[in-house]
Subunit: 226 residues, 2 copies
């Protein structure tokens, strides 16, 4: 039987996994709203972000409560602090899904994404969902190998981000300046979503191995790299 500290920590871990589930759904629905110009889905994602924020506050409160009651030290203390950092990253992933839903709402009844970009954004959504599902699994299982896999998965997202820039800068681009501004922001939201998943993965690696992973999140904001 587990002691009180680890039971409490398991509950916090469960809440983090629950957050990843909510973020997965938000990202999936936000992209549906974006690609199908569906206003009611966009509205529900935007409104639903409050629930993710609320759960994040709950994780923070539980963590502070746990620190106060159990006064953990060493690895136990690190685990509680790391849980709070993870909650922050996952909440931010929810914010990025909300940004995408807002882009859909802003352009409604028009479709915010020109035909040329729809395949690559669909693919970004697929990678984003895979990333957040794996993030949840890596948290649940404290799985270092899954965390390393997340980094590779995020490389796909970075490649797609470069592909968006290649499309925008190609002479065949039909979306004009306004379309390019929208697409740049949307692609950046997906890329940052991936960065936060990797940041969570690196925290798991740190917890298990005791050394910091590295997130080079600047590298693919480089349109020249295409």
């Amino acid at each position: 039987m587990r002691d009180a500290f680890h039971e409490d920590l398991d509950r916090i871990s469960d809440e983090l996994v629950q957050m990843t589930g909510m973020v997965q759904q938000a990202m999936s629905r936000a992209t549906t709203a974006l690609l199908q110009a569906d206003l009611s889905v966009a509205e529900s994602v935007i409104a639903g972000d409050d629930d993710i924020d609320e759960l994040r506050r709950s994780v923070d409160d539980s963590a502070v409560d746990l620190l106060a009651r159990q006064q953990p030290v060493a690895t136990d203390l690190r685990m509680v602090v790391t849980a709070m950092h993870m909650a922050s990253d996952i909440e931010r992933m929810g914010d990025l899904a909300r940004h995408i839903a807002k882009a859909a709402r802003r352009r409604y009844p028009e479709n915010a994404v020109p035909e040329q970009l729809r395949p690559v954004l669909s693919e970004m959504e697929r990678v984003a969902e895979s990333l957040v599902v794996k993030t949840g699994q890596a948290i649940a299982n404290k799985d270092v190998l899954a965390a390393a896999d997340l980094q590779r998965e995020d490389d796909k997202m970075d490649e797609l981000h470069r592909r968006v820039f290649a499309i925008l800068l190609d002479p065949s681009w039909q979306g004009g300046t306004a379309g390019a501004v929208d697409a740049t922001l949307l692609s950046r939201y997906f890329e940052r979503f991936g960065d936060h998943a990797v940041a969570v993965a690196n925290r798991i690696v740190y917890l298990v191995t005791g050394s910091y992973g590295s997130v080079d999140e600047g590298v693919v904001t480089d349109p020249q790299a295409v």
Copy 2:
């Protein structure tokens, strides 16, 4: 004379203020690199970001060490946890300065910013510096009024962000699609820099008053708002 806990906490607070000083310098120099196409300044900002990251790790380590040794509860505990969250926001502000320096390096020897946008980006830099200086002061003085002032200052940044979109979407825009993509990302970096300053301010408000502030960071990623 202060007790050991508060002496340690003061040292952490000093490190946070030191981080804001480093970020201020990074942002100032990154914008110089950007507007004057100065490669060596860009390189030094990019390399210098490691020092900010290092100081952030030092804050985290000091905070964990403090928790382990002093086992604070209630408000004392909240202050230590909040310091870690602030370090995370300030480190991210440094990352955004690095992103701006990378944009300058990418376009060198060309100037990354078309003539039409130089005044508004200069103004964004001025506001960014003011924000980070005030952030440092608000941390040093645990000053709720300064924190509220930060929110107002960030409204100017949001207004400038909208002005960038207005320039990009105006028929007189001369920078083409590639220039619009660059400008969208640069403006977004400045806007996010302001958001993180406001996030720190809200944490100070929370510490002093016990209730959460609100950061609506999505609101001005809206090109339609222009």
